[in-house]
Every structure is written in C-alpha cells, then in structure tokens.
Amino acid sequence: MSDVNLQGIVKRFGDVQAVAGVDLHISSGEFLVVLGPSGCGKTTLMRTIAGLEKPEEGQINIGARDVTALPPRKRGIAMVFQSYALYPHMSVAGNIGFPLKAQRRCPDRTEREQRVYQAAQMVSIEHLLDRRPRQLSGGERQRVAIARAIVSQPEVLLLDEPLSNLDAKLRAYARDELKGFQRKLGITTVFVTHDQIEAMGLGDRIVVMRDGLVQQVGPPQAIYDRPQNTFVATFLGSPGMNLQLVSERVQRGFRPEHLLPLEELPPGAAHEPFSWRVTRVENLGSDRLLYGHIADYRGEMQLTVSRLPSNVTIDIPLDTVCEFGVAHDQLHFFDVASGERLAEGVAA
C-alpha cells in the first residue's frame, strides 16, 4: 500500500484547462472520493494519476517514487473505467487474467488461474469465469472490471464512476459491497463520481472539484457541515443549501432541514425567525419538502426550501404565513463576491 501525492497538477487540452492546478495527498489505504459536476476534470485528473495523460505541470508521487514520467504499467495502479472496458473477445477469466499475463509477473499458469479465481471469488463471480462480457448483466460486468483491477494487487486503485451504469437499486448494493472489500484489501482508492450521495456514503474523505480546481477537501460530514464556499454549499445536499443576501457583501446560508417550524426548534436555542408562505409541498415518503419564498434584504423574494422529516407531522397550510426559524449555529455566512465562507465572527 502506498500514499499518493499530487503537486500542482495542470492538464490542458488546447485552450481548455481540464485540471487547473491540483494539490492533493491521498493517504495509504484511504478511500478518497473526487466529487464534482460533469466536465469539472475528474476523469482527466484520474487519467493523469494513471499515466494515460501527461500533465503540463506538476509532480505525482506514489509511495516514495516520482512517477510523473512513468508509463501506466510502471506505476503500480489499476483503473476501472466508466464503461468497464471489458475485452469483448475474451472470456471473464481471460479478462481478469490479462493484467497478470501482460505484466509477466505471474508466469506460472496454474498460479495465474488460481489468482484469477481468487479475484473472481472476491467479487462473487467465480461461476461466470467462462462467460463472455456480452453475456453478463451490468452489475456482473462491473464486478469483472473490479476483479481485473485487483488481480495484480496494485498499490492504488482508480475507479471512474464505476456505479453510474447500474440501476438505482443495484447501485446502493454495489456501493456497500465496494466499500466492504476496499476495507478488506486496505487498498488506496480514488473514486470519482458526480453523485453526492455516493460520495457522502463511500468516502473517508471527499474532494469537491469545480472547473479543474479543488474547492474543498475533508471528511464527508465536515464538508457538509462547514462548506468552504457557496459552490460546495449548494452542490452538496439535496436540495442544496438555501442562500440569501443579507447585505451587499454578505450571503447567509442554511440547509433545508434546518428551516423548521418554531415548535420543532430545540427548546431555548437562539434562532433566526422566518415568516413565509409555503406555496408547494412535495411528499417524498421519508421527508416533506416545502417550497416558498423569503425576502432578502432588498425585499426581493427568493425561492427557499425546507425539509421536514416524516416524524414532524405538523400540518402546513398552503399560502398562509407560517412562523419558521433556523437555529443560530446552523447559519452559514459567505462573501458575496468571492463566494468564500466568512469566519463566524465577521458576519455577526
């Protein structure tokens, strides 16, 4: 197992800066999730770590080695592509065994077959070894791709949106399984996704990216609780954080689940009151989403969302002024121009 260190990575395609200067340290054995909207440079960053793209600037270290100039096969990495990229003309066993043959690290045939079998067992596909990729379901293909990635015991595992081709139900299951066996193998893993639920659920730490730049790095809960800027605040959570101008320079943010009827606020907690009219209710089963408008400091109405858990059964009449509030410690403040988080004291 090795750690990975990225310093000032820049990757351009013509005029586009796909990765615009990324510094990142991934600890040995860590499960790091790179999260960002599509087109923000996640795949490019991943391919740069893999050695499929050569960065214009910066340095990549895996363990103690500077691998910046090395080809993929000398980096000790394995990668699972979004498309799984299974070789269609090889059996499942052939696919899983291919890295072993290609890297010539396992010349003995019986040993190779044994390792292929073990890798297949790891993801419970040992009964599919003779099949061709086209005879497999999406979930099975994903497992084959993962088995092929771990068979050569790489130091670093790179996963590019490996779950996005699965249907929703299978995805939750695959997520759990992936996490489980990453723990078991203890392999340093970089997982790319645009799905914040996946990111929150899987990552030891999350890296939020936007336009080729890292916005924030940290444990999922920390990022959720203390977003570093308005982009992170609105990108994480569904729906994202409500933002509201409180002066020319300062924006105030609060999460939908913290905008509650006064009765539901913790007793005695200092809070900011909001009177608003709820214009629409969405009942999602586990929660209720309330939509309405709240005026900012200029008197302009802004769409605001509140999320009530299902155990809050209070009746919310439509188009009637209701008294809501947000506990003071759940308010976030951001600079309007830069979008950056303001230190707690500054805003007050």
Partner: protein, 313 residues
C-alpha cells in the same frame, strides 16, 4: 389526380416493385443474361464464327480439364490469389497501424498524415489498366527502372551478385514473372485493405486501448491480443474482397504477360479469354470461365455470412 397519385404512393407493393426494378433489371441484364449465355455456350459447340446451338453435354468441360495449360491456369489462379492476399493483409495491417497512430497534436503532423492517407489511396483510385501499363514499363526487359536501381546499387550487371546480365527481364522468367504479377496485385489491393482495416481500428473504443495500457500491455501484446482479434471480422471481409478481385482479374495478367512465358503466369480468366475470344472457341472459353464460378460463389457466401455475423457483434 392528386388522390390517384397518393393512392399509388401509399400502395407499398406497387412502390416496392418500382424501387426494386432498377436493381433487378441491372442484375438480370448485366449479370444474369451473360451468365446464362455462358452456361449455354459451355454445353454447345459455339465459336465466334458460328453461334448456333448444338448440345454436346459436358464434353467441353472434360476437354478443358485434360489440357495442361488449364491445369497451370488453375494452379496459378489459386496460388497468385492466396499469396497476394497474404502479402496484402500483412502489408495493410502494418500500414493501417502506422496511419492510425496518434501523432503529437501539431499542425504539420496532421497535414503530413492527411497527405500520407491521400497517397495511400492512389493505387486504388487509378484505373487498373492505366496503372498496370505503368508497371509494364517498370518491368521492361531493357529500360526497367528497378533494374537501373539494382545496377546503381552494384547488385546487377557484369561482375555482381545477380550479374553478369544488365537486366533481370522480369516478365520473361517464370518465377520473376509470377512474382511481378503477384506484386502488382498486392500493390493494387493494399490501399482498399488498409482503408478497411483503418476503419476497423478506429472503431475500437479508446477505453479498451487505455485499459490495455493500464493493464500493463505493451505494443505487440495490445496489437495481437486486443486490436487484431477485435478487427478480425472486418479483416476477413477485406480478405474475401481481395480474393474475389484477384481471382477473377484479367487486366493485370493480360497487360503484363498474357500468361507467358509459355503458360507460367496463365490464370483462368486469361485462359478463358485466350481460348474463347482470341482462339474463337466460345464454347471452351465459357467452360473455362465457369470453373471460376463455384469458387467465387463459395467465397461470396462466406463473405456475406461473416459480414452479417460481424454486424451482430
């Protein structure tokens, strides 16, 4: 008026016939009729001077089969075709690899690649008879530029390895004449095969090649274990195309050697032409040419089956 028109247009049976008619007519008139004529001639005593029909059964076929020249033609046709296809597919694979190699994204590189691809297709785009006349000069017994180069390299001429003659006389010696004809076929077929293979190669998802690279595969393993197996169906199609073109070709042999020296480069189409048109024995000429038919039919069937299977994948 309009109502009648639209009723016609909506009648799918009628429109089907209308749309199929040109192709059917074309096939019947230009392929079917000559074929039937050839069948009829081959069981008759027809000559150029007398096309009247006297049925003689399979006598023409039996006669032809016993002619040594026919045996030569049969062997040559197969060996030329097979050797030419093997050379073509190897050469085309190499060229296709080179021409699909990604270049550094420089302008000059892209223009260079474009020019190289243009030049590549030229042999295919030139009318065959013209280019073969060109090759006739290249192989000229006295003024052959190839011989000139060899002389300059001191390989040919008095006191050299291939000396003492000043010329190799390409088309006058059995082995060289055979080689020359095969060479021109390869030269002719390689562009099409290359283009077909290039299309196949560029249809391989880049993810798959990236995956091979990440898996640790190097150039030749990726070539032989990933790229070639993936383009195998399309390669087979290109091979069969080449087979059909070369097998039935008259132009190259006709212009270069007319089957000579003696019968050393004789092929079935050439022999059929010599017997049927030059010799005036239409019946035997037709019989010779009909030997080509079952071979081409078989190849065509394999070709179509391969093509349809390639599609499914």
């Amino acid at each position: 008026m309009n109502a009648i028109m639209s009723r016609w247009i909506d009648d799918s049976r009628l429109m089907g016939i209308v749309f199929l008619a040109p192709a059917t007519l074309y096939i019947v008139l230009l392929v079917g009729l000559p074929f039937v004529t050839a069948l009829l001639f081959s069981v008759s005593t027809a000559t150029v001077g007398d096309a009247s029909f006297n049925y003689v059964g399979l006598r023409n076929f039996a006669n032809v089969w016993q002619t040594p020249a026919f045996r030569d033609a049969l062997v040559n046709t197969f060996s030329f075709t097979v050797i030419a296809q093997i050379c073509t597919i190897i050469l085309a694979n190499i060229l296709a690899q080179l021409l699909t190699t990604p270049l550094p994204q420089r302008r000059s590189g892209r223009i260079g690649m474009w020019i190289a691809r243009m030049l590549l297709i030229l042999p295919w785009a030139t009318p065959l008879s013209l280019s073969v006349v060109g090759w006739l000069w290249m192989f000229d017994s006295k003024y052959s530029p190839i011989d000139y180069i060899f002389r300059e390299l001191a390989l040919l001429g008095p006191g050299t390895v291939w000396g003492p003659a000043n010329n190799l006389i390409w088309l006058g010696k059995p082995l060289l004449a055979k080689a020359s004809i095969i060479f021109v076929h390869v030269w002719r077929m390689t562009p099409l095969a290359t283009v077909i293979l290039m299309a196949g190669l560029s249809s391989i998802p880049t993810d798959l090649l990236d995956q091979a690279e990440v898996d640790g595969s190097r150039y030749f393993r990726t070539l032989f274990q990933v790229k070639l197996p993936l383009i195998m169906p399309i390669m087979l199609i290109s091979l069969l195309f080449g087979f059909i073109f070369t097998f039935g070709d008259l132009t190259v042999v006709y212009i270069l050697t007319r089957g000579g020296p003696i019968t050393h480069t004789l092929t079935l189409p050439m022999y059929s032409f010599l017997v049927g048109i030059d010799g005036g024995n239409l019946a035997q000429g037709a019989a010779v040419s009909l030997f080509i038919f079952p071979v081409l039919l078989l190849v065509a069937v394999v070709l179509l089956r391969t093509a349809s299977r390639a599609e499914v994948r």
